[in-house]
Symmetry: C2
Subunit: 338 residues, 2 copies
């Protein structure tokens, strides 16, 4: 086995409490003893056992995150932001994937609880009543990130970007560029934050400008390239009057849409402008470069983690329940002026 606090105590001719004090810098220890202990620790390469420590302090310095899919770039960036502030606080991160499935999410919440993590960051897809109840029953704090609860959202701490406003801004940007016939390729209808809210933003922008569009201008994809392609195809085939611009709810669907338009010999942006969402790494790589809404998932993750740390440090006095991360419209050449 590895060397313990006892071995150190013996070798330094002190009590284990003294060693403990040195390790934790808790109470004053005379300089001489301190040095002696430190030397032995160094020499024997002693590392305190975090399990034993956690057992007694009831604190593990671990937080968990639950994401639908870690290979998704968005959650990668989110995780990176979270990890950044974890490292600053000497925490380590336990990563769990839920696939966005409710039962899996509940199971993971349980597993993390058994592991006595100090808190959880949760990125879901559909955070409904059941899930909120489940979370509230836990004895550790939870912060929602990227996705807000669709029910009783006011009781959960949440860090998100404002999906309504961001989409509204993006569509307004299209309108400012002279577009009046704007189609919409959205996310799944059961996706509260990225699906429903973005649709709301789109509708708001149109209303504000007294614009109307036929229902056939609105399609729902699932954030994949193929669904973007298919939605664009439908819009193209089912409308005798084509839109002059399309708001796609993520970059990847925008790419799919562009691909379809190319195959149909429709010029982007001169015949149809395309707006994306996310500002993924890819947005600059394709031709034409994609105008989009920049969301910093890194910042979002970092802010959420910071909030969780606040929550864990007890003086939860005045932490706002809901925090928004700024978004930004990025102009590139997939959008043309009319």
């Amino acid at each position: 086995m590895s060397v313990t606090i006892q071995d150190i105590a013996k070798e330094a001719n002190v009590s284990i409490s003294t060693v403990s004090r040195v390790i934790n810098n808790s109470k004053a220890v005379s300089p001489e003893l301190k040095k002696k202990v430190l030397d032995v620790i160094q020499k024997r390469n002693f590392k305190p056992n975090t399990l034993a420590r956690g057992l007694i302090t009831n604190k593990t310095n671990i937080i968990g995150i639950i994401v639908p899919d870690i290979s998704n770039q968005i959650f990668g960036a989110l995780t990176k932001g979270i990890n950044e502030v974890c490292h600053q606080n000497e925490y380590t991160l336990m990563v769990c994937e839920s696939g966005g499935k409710l039962e899996k999410e509940i199971e993971l919440l349980k597993i993390l609880g058994e592991r006595k993590i100090d808190g959880v960051l949760f990125a879901g897809v559909d955070i409904n009543f059941t899930l909120v109840e489940e979370m509230k029953s836990k004895d550790y704090p939870i912060v929602l990130v990227t996705q807000e609860a669709s029910d009783r959202e006011e009781i959960m701490h949440t860090v998100v970007h404002d999906n309504v406003q961001a989409t509204r801004d993006a569509v307004s940007f299209l309108i400012e560029n002279g577009h009046k016939r704007i189609a919409f390729i959205g996310g799944p209808e059961n996706d509260f934050s990225s699906g429903i809210k973005r649709l709301t933003g789109y509708r708001l922008a149109l209303e504000e400008n007294q614009l109307e569009v036929p229902d056939s201008y609105i399609e729902h994809g699932d954030f994949t390239f193929n669904s973007g392609f298919d939605c664009m195809k439908k819009i193209y085939e089912e409308n005798s009057v084509l839109p002059t611009a399309v708001m796609a709810c993520n970059d990847v669907m925008a790419f799919g849409a562009i691909r379809f338009l190319k195959s149909a010999n429709v010029d982007v942006p001169n015949e149809i402008s395309i707006m994306g969402f996310d500002d993924s790494e890819l947005a600059k790589f394709i031709t034409p470069e994609l105008s989009t809404v920049r969301i910093s998932y890194f910042d979002e993750g970092a802010q959420a983690a910071a909030t969780l740390f606040e929550l864990m440090s007890e003086h939860q006095s005045s932490i706002p329940t809901k925090q928004y991360i700024q978004h930004k419209i990025i102009r590139r050449n997939s959008v043309a002026k009319i």
Copy 2:
């Protein structure tokens, strides 16, 4: 505090040992007692404390992974594969980011050790002598993944794709398509697996076919879009006779190269063909679609994790030190026949 094994024992009128046995299915317990205990456990919603358990069993059911950058799609996919087999084995995953920096890697190895993880999966950039020594001094098993050690590789368990062979195959593919003047955009020269080895594969393929190229056909980037752009630019500007094909060592640099060629009005693939590496999600999104080498990082992660589990289960008898994950040449239209 949460409910403990003692509470259960008391309420079920049995000893804590009996409860423990029920929980772990260790020794035979009479059906009646078992049922009684199970009922109480259910009723009180008891969850064993993994810390206490780990303290005594010296096993945490946690493994750690160390990657340079979790927001990088490659490591995302890798992590997903790893997580998959972890979940099957009822393990959870601790994710650490090193930024590819040696000191950070060493620090993380130490931190994970303190946390008593059962094993580590390591993806580095430059796994040199120092690092190998460091790893060998740990009391937990380590498996290298995606990147092999540049020194004493034979003593580390490793799961990688064959970078030499993969690049060789890719270049051979270009040659089979009639190309003789093939340029190379590689990775950093201190990157053993993805830098040096791929260059070796390229050279091998050329030699086998008695082809020679000027030094000015070979450039080193850093796997970013911009470096791909710059390398292509250099090759374009510094050679009076242009290559007919370019082997780029990852897809993203291939995109950069294509972007430069577009800006220089060079037709891809008719004037210059481009070959990528990785088969990232993006490869199908751009125009022309990118021919590339498919590496399944998911499989690589999963295989590495499986290997680690073997190692942890002690009968380490016959686990091969080095395992290769298959690659595959993907033909798309960024490569033309000559």
